[in-house]
Every structure is written in C-alpha cells, then in structure tokens.
C-alpha cells in the first residue's frame, strides 16, 4: 500500500509506530490498519492532528499491542522464564504482579538454600544440614555444630530435591495464576 498524498505529520507518526512495533509479528498489519483508519478519518473531514490525537502517542499506542502480545505469548508458551520476565516488567504497575513476583522470589530463595545446603553437605557433612537446638531451627551451614543437633543426616539430599521440586511447581502455579489474573483484568 502506498502512502501517496499522506499528511507529513501522519507519515511521521506512522513511522514512529512502525519503529515502536519492531518486535511485533503483526506489525505490518497494525500499521496498515491504522494508516487506513487515519486516511478515512481525514477524508471524512477530521484534521490530521485530531485524527492522530484519537490514537495518542505512537509509542503508547504501540505499547498496548506489545503488552498484549507479550502477555498472551507468555501464557501460551507457559515457559517459566518468559512468564517471570513478563511478571517482573509489571511489578511497578500491578499489585498482583508485585505479590506474585515476591512469592516467586521467596520460593526461589528456599529452593536455592535447600540445594546449596545439599551441595555443601557433600563436602562438609559436619556443618551442613537441618539444625535444631536452643533458639535454633535452620537448614543450612552452622559454624558451631555443638550448639545444635542435626536432624536429617543423608536424608538432606532427598529433602532438598523435594523442596526444589515443590518450589518449582508452586512457582509455576503462582506465575500462571498471576498472569491469568492480569490478563482477565485488562
């Protein structure tokens, strides 16, 4: 489609839209549809400025499509990395995203601590484990093992694997739930 007779201001706005939609697979479709709408509105008597005003800034307009593509793409693929990345980008604008992200961080920290303790247990079995003593309950590395006694022994390995697996499953459920809530609220 040619842009013959197009108002220069409209042309610049469409160029900015085209650039802002660079990562969208249906960029051409969106730009052509918008170009058609603008041309028809202007032909109908609207000034180019008023026609553009109904779309707002090209970057803001593009963002609406990109947010949606990103969200539906992450939910469609259900890949943990993609879902986490989409959730992280919405932390400052959505309470659901902030809460979900915080929960995933806590679960990841638990999984990391459990895995690290199991690894340290291999090299330093005297200091790593699940410790219980006066005012002490912890999973990790205790510098003075005389302060508490260790409960799990070698069971720390399956226990750590269980914690990692549970954190992974719960984390994915939190990601899915949060993104679905955000998608429904749009």
């Amino acid at each position: 489609m040619t842009a013959e007779g197009q108002d220069p201001e409209v042309g610049r706005w469409l160029n900015r839209l085209n650039w802002a939609l660079a990562s969208a697979v249906d960029r051409e479709d969106i730009v052509e549809e918008t170009r058609g709408h603008l041309a028809e509105s202007i032909a109908g008597g609207l000034s180019p400025r008023d026609a553009l005003a109904s779309f707002g800034a090209a970057e803001t307009y593009a963002r609406r499509f990109l947010d949606d593509i990103e969200l539906s793409g992450a939910l469609g693929s259900q890949r943990s990395g993609a879902m986490l990345s989409v959730l992280a980008r919405r932390v400052h604008t959505s309470l659901v995203a902030a809460g979900g992200f915080a929960l995933v961080v806590v679960l990841a920290a638990c999984a990391f601590a459990a895995a690290l303790t199991a690894i340290v247990k291999i090299f330093d079995p005297a200091h790593a484990g699940m410790w219980v003593g006066r005012g002490i309950f912890m999973i990790g590395v205790l510098s003075d093992p005389s302060q508490a006694h260790e409960l799990l022994g070698n069971w720390i390995f399956p226990a750590a694997a269980l914690v990692v697996a549970l954190a992974w499953i719960l984390g994915r459920l939190v990601l899915l739930w949060s993104l679905r809530r955000i998608a429904r609220a749009r």
Binding site: M1, D26, E33, F55, R64, F65, I69, S72
Partner: protein, 121 residues
C-alpha cells in the same frame, strides 16, 4: 478539587466504567456481522454511547482476534477505497458474548434494584 479538574475526573470515571463494558458492546456489535474498525468505533459511539478512542479499539480488536473470539480478513470494497480489515465473531466469540450478556444482565438487575432501593429512602 477545582472546577477545572471536574471534567477530567468525570472522564476518568467514564473511562473506568467503559473499560468493563467495551468488550461486551463490541462483541454484541460484531454479532450482527463482520465490521471494520472505524465503522465499529462510530457505531459504538452513535448507538451505544460508548465513547472509545481509536487508540483503544484496535488493541482490543487484536486481543479478541488473538483470543480466537474473532477472526479478521482484509477486504477491498467495490468503491475502490482502501483495503479494510473486517472482524467477525467466531463460534467461541458467540459463546463468550452469550456468557457476558447473561452476566451483565444479572449484574445490571441486581445493581439497579440496589440503587433504586436507596434512592427511595
């Protein structure tokens, strides 16, 4: 709050209310048959009083298309005008329209009864 701020605040309230009903109004309009963006926008404004901006309607149309509630095709009209992208409801879209209508009518009935009861006091 100053007098000048009131229209903005009214616009903001209207925008919030419209956000919830725009999708229903759009699905309902498409239930009549395939239509293109500008036509949808003008009919929503003229017939339903839903004052959506052009910058709102197209992302919504694309979202519905991605959700398989609508399908779209480019058509060239007989009058030789620019190609237009027409949107039509899919079977899934008709189901969604039915569900949203039931939910809207239930909610509107309950809310009207609630508001009327308090207005009479």
């Amino acid at each position: 709050m100053t007098g000048e701020e009131r229209p903005d605040s009214a616009d903001g309230r209207r925008a919030q209310l419209l956000k919830g009903v725009a999708e229903l109004a759009l699905l309902s309009l498409l239930g009549e048959g395939p239509q293109y963006g500008l036509e949808i926008l003008e009919r929503l404004r003229g017939e339903a009083g839903v004052e959506l901006a052009a910058g709102t309607i197209y992302p919504l149309l694309h979202r519905l298309e991605r959700g398989k509630l609508t399908r779209a095709e480019w058509r060239i009209e007989d009058d030789g005008a620019r190609p237009r992208k027409y949107y039509a409801l899919t079977d899934l879209g008709r189901e969604e329209l039915g569900s949203q209508l039931v939910e809207w009518r239930r909610l509107a009935k309950a809310l009207n009864a609630f508001l009327d009861k308090r207005r009479m006091k």
